[in-house]
Amino acid sequence: MFKLWQFGGGVHLDTHKTESTGRPLRDAGLPEHLILPLQQRGTSTAKPVVAPGERVLRGQLLARDENPLNPPIHASTSGIVKAIEDLPLPHPSGLPGPCLVIEVDGEDEGLAQEPMEDVRDLPVEELRRRIHEAGIVGLGGAAFPAAVKVDPGARRRIDTLVLNGAECEPYITCDDSLMRHYPDDVLGGAEILLHILGAERCLLGIEDDMPEAIAALEAAKASGGYERIEIVPVPAVYPTGGEKQLIKVLTGREVPAGGIPADAGIVCQNVGTAAAIHRALVHGESLTSRIVTVTGPGVRKPQNLMVRIGTPIAHLIAQCGGYTEHAQRLILGGPMMGLALPSDELPIIKAANCVLVAGSELVTGEKQALPCIRCGECATTCPVNLLPQQLYWYSRADNLDRAVEHHLADCIECGCCDFVCPSHIPLVQYFRAAKAQVTARQRERDKAAHAKTRFEFREQRKEREKLEKAESARRKKELLERVQNDAS
């Protein structure tokens, strides 16, 4: 038996997984148009390399960016570039950003495939470059660029690759579906990652309530001879699928505060990312589609769909038989950490794992918050061992220094404390606001410090110039005196 560790806290939630796993995985088909946001992480925007009116093929590069945090964007089917314009982004604010719109022509014509070399013959840098070029970002929800993550720097030695198949949020089953149908891609991707990282072993954490996915992976492992990969069922507790929590459960190690998993000798990737890496490096496919769970009491036929990146959510809902009369809230992601979207015209992005249409039973409406009764439930359930109640007091009192002292920055915003709080205090909202304030304050300080150095620098320069002037005046005078003396 593989030895498992424990992180404190967490909650047992109703999983609601069978709603979507009850139907087979199928292709969502082609929508009428695709919307591809040009900005992924950070603030820089990818520059289009195609112009409106141009016909593009599936897999063709559409836009690229110098910034490694913003990997290139590819067409996910063939069509005409209709516009490059500001459109609402899939975010609760619905604020617009630059997007590339493609009118789909229905041919789904792809770029000609070049024959691939054997991955093992290529240098590691080349493999990383190709991962970047294929536009692969983490598919677990955070969308961190995969190529950056598999480059932990020369100083860090990686011994363990952790693959995250834990999928602990209720309702979401896209990774489950992926592991059932494409176990070879997952394990093949793991093998490539082991090669790139020079790691000894891969631990694939999967929640123990996914027997079919576990069986599929085990079978693929046996037939593919992947000896360095261990498939480890982990208890189904939320948030076991949190990167830090899964690392703790599988290895007993903790990611040091303020650090990254590589500081503990570990790189963690989502199983979907591993599969995408395999598709890219072995089959030459860029990241242009992913599995998305469309589920919840608000859709008629919950299921998993293979979706082209950029597909408007409304198309997926139509594929699932439309809304039911319960549809009240559209959530991108799971119920614990997902973002509520204002409209179903918004597109599926690479990080979108689930479209949850919540009904009245999920949406609580205006719940009246009572004062904190100091019951400590929040502390008991916090997987990071924070004291949310204290953080709440400090955040509310704008006592940011104390909140930072109580490790506000370590909050992973998992929502456990919020969920169990009997006084219905929106704790996570307070923490998000406090974190934003801390960041803003830090920025102010940096700016002030910057201005101060600039000021000091200018003062110094003025001082120097004054001294120099005085010096040259003195020299002139000296010279003059000498000349006069010589003359006399």
């Binding site: 990611v255 040091p256 119920p335 973002l339 609580t364 061992n385 709080c421 009997p422």
Partner: protein, 342 residues
């Protein structure tokens, strides 16, 4: 289609204050039934008086403070405070005393500090302590358990006695000292525990006669709370284990001066205190290790007050004293945050 955008989490909350309070009230039922069976219906009448007074006081204070009535009245916290105070009072306490204690608990113990969630002291124990200090004779005179009485008063008689009507009937031996009290005064007269227990009829196999049943009732309710995860194990465990250990030391040291550890566990307000009073979240320590210490502190103080203090039982004062210490305990027992080294 357009949708509303609320922040996550998007799940109905797992619990609510009113549900919590209701379940704690429910868990008190076995203990209350035992008290009824052993000491007559006085406890029910006391609960009735206290709850009515508490709800009225709560409503009055809330409207004085211009706070919304509905969410706070329905949170159940005033009723819980009232019941906890009522079950701690002698079964035939005069109605005015119960009402006064309840008013004091709610106004001075709770609202003057800011109401629900802000009170540093357990309000029920504030009310209890004030009554104990102001009316020590009334407060230490319990009636003996029913089977020691030649004639137990019925419901109507109890009502008449509590409301001190002119025509209230007279019963023999209704007001007596509790076993803890008896022990304390008799030990003061240089008698040994053995001798006292063999003479007085109010002692039984493990605790005080009647009292052991009441304690078993509260223990049962408390264990149910634990099983449902409505209270943590740390405070009751810290309390009971420490009380047991201290009592065991005393007993081993000099059994003539100290009753058995079991007597301590099953007499007085031990189980009520361990599971229902010390666990009041608002005024207790909040960190896991802090709660263990907090419970242990109460257990130790209960033993000290019972053995050497000026009052027969020590739960109320022990709880109030540890309430004082809770913030400091919390400060020194913060858990190690993930990723921060040990």
């Amino acid at each position: 289609m357009r949708f509303d955008t609320a922040p996550s989490p998007h799940l109905p909350p797992a619990n609510s204050v009113s549900r919590l309070m209701l379940l704690v009230l429910l868990a008190l039922v076995p203990g209350i039934l035992m008290q009824w069976w052993q000491f007559g219906p006085g406890v029910l009448i006391n609960i009735g008086i206290a709850v009515v007074v508490a709800e009225l006081a709560e409503a009055a204070v809330l409207s004085l403070r211009r706070r919304p009535l509905k969410p706070f009245l329905s949170d159940g916290s005033a009723a819980l405070t009232a019941v906890l105070l009522a079950v701690a009072l002698p079964p035939l306490s005069p109605a005015w005393m119960t009402a006064f204690g309840t008013l004091f608990a709610l106004i001075f113990g709770k609202h003057l500090y800011g109401g629900l969630g802000y009170n540093p002291f357990n309000p029920a124990m504030v009310g209890y302590a004030v009554l104990l200090i102001s009316f020590p004779r009334h407060m230490t005179a319990w009636m003996p358990p029913a089977d020691l009485l030649p004639q137990a008063p019925g419901f109507g008689d109890t009502l008449a006695l509590i409301f001190q009507r002119e025509n209230a009937p007279v019963f023999d031996g209704l007001a007596q000292a509790t076993p803890l009290d008896t022990l304390k005064t008799q030990l003061g007269l240089a008698r040994g525990v053995d001798e006292i227990q063999s003479v007085a009829r109010i002692f039984d196999a493990i605790g005080g006669k009647g009292w052991q049943w009441v304690n078993l009732g509260y223990l049962a309710g408390g264990l149910w709370l634990l099983r449902r995860g409505l209270i943590g194990w740390q405070i009751p465990a810290g309390f009971l284990v420490t009380l047991f250990a201290a009592a065991m030391l005393g007993f081993l040291f000099d059994p003539a001066l100290h009753p058995t550890p079991l007597f301590h566990l099953f007499s007085g307000a031990t189980m009520l205190g361990a599971f229902f009073i010390a666990t009041d979240p608002v005024s207790a320590a909040t960190t896991p290790r802090g709660r263990l210490l907090y419970g242990a502190g109460i257990g130790l103080l209960v033993f000290v007050i019972r053995s050497w203090g000026g009052y027969p039982d020590g739960v109320a004062f022990a709880v109030l004293l540890l309430n004082l210490a809770a913030p400091a305990i919390d400060y020194y027992t913060q858990p190690r945050v993930y990723g921060h080294g040990s």
